[in-house]
Amino acid sequence: MSWDWQVFCQDTMDKEVVQGCFGKGGDITYLDWMLSAWGWTVSVSLSALVLALVLGSVIGTLRTLQGRPMVVRLGNAWVELFRNIPLLVQIFLWYHVVPTMFPAMQAVPGFVLVVLALGFFTSARIAEQVRSGIQALPRGQRYAGLAMGFTTFQTYRYVLLPMAFRIIIPPLTSETMNIFKNSSVAFAVSVAELTMFAMQAQEETSRGIEVYLAVTACYIVSAFAINRIMAFIEKRARVPGLIVAGGSGGH
């Protein structure tokens, strides 16, 4: 087999190589299609990321509340539920099982269901990181906040969370990158994202190696972009002396 990168300039209907590689007047080349698929991948991932960050932060925080055992148990249940079921199975539950139980869910598009599934799955993992971040702080931090006359909410808002979030930026970076890679399961429920493009385009063109290499590059670029953004945030949010190497308790 030899390389044939021209395959990306082919029209998807008649397989003619198009000048300039982009289809005109409603025609679509494989390059157009791949860029649109990349768009779907990025949309799924970013939407799920927002959902996961919000839910994960709230649930992770609730799990560290003192004197509220019921709330803590609910948070724990959430985490254990969503991290003990494989992601692909969760996607199927959302797409095939939930709508059979609640007919109203039939009308919900696959895109939304994937965002929910991926967002909830990742929220459990982020909640676990937020919890460990908060619990890594010495007890004195919480007591100091309360001694200042802060309410519990204010203690979290002004003392605990700003420190905890700085501690957990590295694992959060991994998680945000994982969302991009995990979004590939969306093809299973008819979202036209990169993995689906790869499977379909390789069948149509018989140029699997070129197609998979290009798709791999798209995934690497997206995940690495997120990695750089997180590295930037980590750098900007750093407070000198807040996190001391050597593990003396993170303050």
């Binding site: 087999m1 095939h96 008819s190 689906m196 499977m199 390789q202 149509e204």
Partner: protein
Amino acid sequence: MKKHIFAMAVVALAAGSAFAQANDTLAKIKSSGSITLGVRESSGLSYTLGNGKYVGFHTEMAERIISDLRKQLGLTALETKYQPVTSQNRIPLVTNGTVDLECGSTTNNATRQKDVAFAVTTYVEEVRIAVKANSGIQAIKDLNGKSVATTTGTTSVQTLRKNERAGGIDFKEVYGKDHADSFLLLETGRADAFVMDGSILAANISKSKNPADFKIVGEVLSVEPIACMLRKDDPAFKKAVDDSIKRQIADGSLAKLYDKWFLQPVPPTNTKIGLPLSDATKAAWANPNDKPMEDYAKK
């Protein structure tokens, strides 16, 4: 310097041992006393029963071809190695010499003919529409405004796209991850129709909870010649395979084999697929040829 080594490694990876391969499969089979047959794990014409056992219409036909090859080469024994292949790897595995003969469910088309050769067509697949029996859908024009399921990574997606463009009809496409998923989309009402190869539709319906709830309707959306795949530029091997297939057509054994796999109960569930021999397949047998799919469309 480092870049060169990397580039060479990539090229070597892609090309496999294609360069080292002498293009004389018959000699290779004779000297090694074995042939590697490419089979599919789950397709209509070739599938596995587990434990390394492969069956199906095309698999059994290939076993007969191999037995003819053994006779032609004058060997007393010829070992058959079964190598499962997927849509993604079947062409590289044939071109790099891992697989000598692939008899699964590969469509013979012009793009693939650039890389590999095909034996004469042994089965002509017709792309059809499966719907719920009570849906009232009779033809592709009835699909306007409906949602239509098909399976990611199949040529039916292209067929669907072409029909949508040509017929001026507008439907929503939903894609199953595999055929079982696509059928589930139809079963659970997420899709109003499932467009796919007739044999796959028939097999899925025969295995469903209530086969009577579904039917195959409408016109034939496209025809695809299915053939065994072999390495390019090896006329002696291709002739031996073609001769064996022509022999099987002429003495009626291929028709009997069809009857066994499509009209009688087949393992593992012992249900009947119930798909009679199509006119297109009959025509291909009456006049054995290795024309690609594109030649069928021109008619």
